[in-house]
């Protein structure tokens, strides 16, 4: 790409028009584009982002291997996408709300989720969905696109209650743009002009369905125009560009100028290196050589190169970060694996008060456990 091209699309940050070419700050190798301004991040913030991305990648590798060992159940890998996840969450203020999907482990972690809790959910404990009290984070959404109207409503609620300092960031995938809830949520967001930022993590694949067969639109960002919402297309494997675009969108959501609309749809263009989940085998439906071109633009490598070039990072710091994230992930695994649960949990929190009928069902189960022992409940098919 020429410098002129870069200049042509660079202007679109914060503008009402979007360009088909994704906005970038770093080139494929991690060099700062001559036309681009790096976002206003301190060295410390940059190192935090880098460390979070390192943690995300390490967590992902360990989670996939844990699934293979039967220590967690189905897991949705995020390698290749952690730059966008980490950068979008870094662009949030603490009080902002995050609506994640089942793949947004790193986005959740950066916004305040407990790493051990993420693993508890993957080990089949609903307790893992609970979040620290001061963190505005929803449990991950598993049905597709259902979070879009919720995020809109949460943002609408902020507006109606005069909370000018709180915005909502909602993640969704490229597949989600085909669901009715995407349309309804974006349409409402436009009509009620709410402080919401919708981040479409376009990783090119909805399980086996390539992006170009998901929608006949040239881009996903351009769908925003029809809703009266700003659409932006960003290189989702360029963490600095993702940060810049998301931060601008969050600021605009909270304090738009007279000619700006609050909501934004960001299309974060990236690639799912791995399988949809550990239950999926992508070799059945895609050519793995395709991922090589994307891996050459790896978000972690690019940020690392940039940080070395700008002397924010050196080998010593990198080693220290590596040791720290590995220890943090190991500690989370230890905590998650030590967690216990019991059948009583099945009936907790169904209602504020457990109905008598449900309590009786639990009592009946407990009587049977007493009579036959827990081993009798191990396997449905005997």
């Amino acid at each position: 790409m020429s410098a002129q091209d870069d200049a042509d699309h660079q202007h679109s940050i914060g503008a009402t028009e979007f360009d088909t070419e994704p906005i970038r700050v770093l080139d494929d190798d991690g060099n700062l584009l001559s036309s681009a301004e790096p976002p206003a991040l301190s060295d410390e913030e940059l190192l935090d982002m880098y460390a979070d991305m390192k943690l995300a990648r390490h967590f992902d590798q360990r989670a996939v291997s844990f699934q293979r060992q039967g220590r967690i159940a189905t897991y949705a890998p995020m390698t290749g996408q952690e730059g966008s996840q980490v950068a979008t969450s870094h662009a949030l203020d603490d009080a902002d709300w995050l609506f994640p999907t089942y793949r947004d482990h790193a986005a959740k972690y950066v916004h305040g989720a407990d790493l051990a809790a993420l693993l508890k959910t993957l080990r089949g404990y609903r307790e893992g969905y609970s979040v620290p009290e001061d963190v505005n984070l929803m449990p991950e959404y598993i049905p597709i696109a259902t979070q879009v109207p919720h995020a809109m409503g949460m943002a609408w609620g902020q507006l109606l209650q005069g909370n000018d300092d709180t915005a909502v960031l909602c993640h969704l995938g490229d597949g989600a743009t085909s669901e009715g809830d995407f349309h309804e949520g974006l349409n409402f967001a436009g009509v009620f002009d709410v402080p919401a930022v919708f981040v479409c993590n376009n990783n090119q694949w909805a399980i086996s369905m390539p992006r170009e067969r998901q929608t006949a639109s040239e881009t996903i960002a351009e769908k925003a125009r029809a809703y009266g919402v700003e659409g932006v297309r960003v290189d989702g494997m360029d963490p600095l560009a993702v940060y810049a675009v998301t931060r601008a969108a969050i600021k605009k959501a909270k304090a738009p100028t007279d000619d700006e609309r609050r909501p934004t749809l960001i299309e974060s263009v990236q690639y799912r290196y791995g399988a949809h989940t550990t239950s999926d085998d992508p070799s059945v439906y895609r050519d793995e050589a395709e991922s090589e071109a994307w891996r050459d633009r790896d978000p972690l490598d690019r940020l690392e190169t940039y940080l070395y070039q700008t002397d924010v990072l050196d080998a010593e710091r990198e080693a220290a970060i590596e040791a720290r994230v590995e220890a943090e992930v190991s500690a989370a695994i230890e905590t998650a694996e030590a967690a216990e649960t019991s059948p009583e949990r099945m009936v907790e929190h169904v209602y504020e008060e457990t109905p008598d009928r449900l309590q009786e069902q639990l009592d009946e189960l407990n009587a049977l456990r007493e009579k036959y022992g827990d081993d009798a409940f191990a396997e449905v098919l005997g």
Binding site: I207, M209, V380
Partner: protein
């Protein structure tokens, strides 16, 4: 069917298949037999379906008849209704029952009542397949059993196979049926066992229950994956308590084979119903009520419901407590027998 065709079918060979292979075979055979039959859904083409239920169909019949759609359940079922109206025989796949809800409006407001709304002028020969049920340690929303939602809708048929041969035979009947059929596949037993399945055309009539084990002391009504633990419980009760259970696999929940239910109950005078779905307003309630309407004077004990809890399906660490286990089924049947 002509007598020649019937004779050919009687002589046909069999192959040992799993339940999911029975589904795949049913689709394959009907697509070969009838050009109007097509498959559509998420990841059903190149990928062969997330459970491989449509494996090989894309290569054999092409992308025009085995269609990977955008990710939109209402779009899939809604467009399948239009396809059916146009004269085709669509078989739509919902990836998991837990993801059917966006299509619920299309099913209940339209598929179910096109025939009645148009006074018989338009019909909706549509099959909507969905894997359902728990026990495979799947993520949240992947393990529910909400068959009662669909049974409650007049105009829909609801079918649940529990064996590989029935998976093929009932799916064949569903595809040939002139009305919309919700075809629920118990994914816990997709690959749990194999049995001989007739090759070629194999149809098992809708609306007919199957007695899986004859017995004289108590009738156990069930369907889908619960047929297995019910049979295990029956064997244990025979060995340990001398109780002779009759296990009836309903196979079609709507329309219900009332005759088979009543006939079995009149023989035993006692009944238990086993299902994974939450107990309250589950299909077990319909069975119990039907029995008291039709055979009250034969009843010797309260009818026992052995079911899931009136709570959301737990994440997988607790799902084996949620699902009816042989031990729970056994205990519940004994309660009925010793009343």
């Amino acid at each position: 069917m002509s007598s020649t065709a019937a004779a050919a079918e009687a002589e046909s060979t069999t192959e040992r298949l799993t339940l999911v292979e029975g589904v795949q075979e049913g689709l394959h055979t009907e697509m070969e037999r009838d050009d109007r039959v097509m498959v559509l859904g998420e990841d059903v083409g190149k990928n062969g379906g997330v459970f491989r239920a449509t494996e090989g169909l894309y290569d054999e019949f092409g992308g025009g008849r085995v269609v990977d759609t955008p990710l939109a359940e209402s779009g899939i079922v809604g467009s399948a209704i239009g396809l059916a109206l146009s004269g085709l025989r669509p078989v739509a796949e919902m990836q998991f029952m837990g993801f059917m809800y966006p299509a619920f409006d299309q099913l209940v407001s339209h598929a179910a009542r096109l025939r009645s709304r148009s006074h018989g002028q338009y019909t909706c020969p549509l099959v909507v397949r969905a894997p359902y049920g728990g026990g495979i340690h799947a993520p949240e929303h992947h393990s529910e059993s909400k068959e009662a939602f669909f049974v409650h809708e007049p105009g829909l048929k609801v079918v649940v196979p529990s064996t590989p041969a029935d998976a093929k035979g009932l799916l064949t009947a569903a595809i040939r049926d002139p009305d919309p059929v919700v075809f629920l596949e118990p994914k816990l037993i997709y690959r749990a066992f194999r049995e001989e399945v007739p090759t070629g055309s194999h149809e098992v009539s809708l609306g007919e229950a199957a007695v899986r084990r004859e017995g004289s002391d108590v009738s156990v009504f069930t369907w889908g994956a619960m047929t297995r633990p019910a049979l295990i419980a029956a064997d244990n009760l025979a060995d340990e308590h001398g109780v002779d259970c009759e296990v009836v696999d309903l196979r079609t929940l709507s329309p219900l084979d009332t005759d088979s239910v009543v006939t079995s109950f009149e023989k035993t005078g006692r009944a238990a119903v086993v299902h994974e779905a939450p107990k309250t307003a589950g299909f077990g309630a319909e069975i119990a009520t039907t029995i008291q309407e039709e055979a009250l004077l034969y009843q010797e004990a309260p009818i026992k419901r052995i079911a899931g809890f009136d709570a959301p399906m737990p994440l997988h660490a607790l799902e084996d407590y949620y699902l009816p286990q042989a031990v729970r089924i056994q205990d519940g049947i004994l309660e009925t027998v010793t009343f």
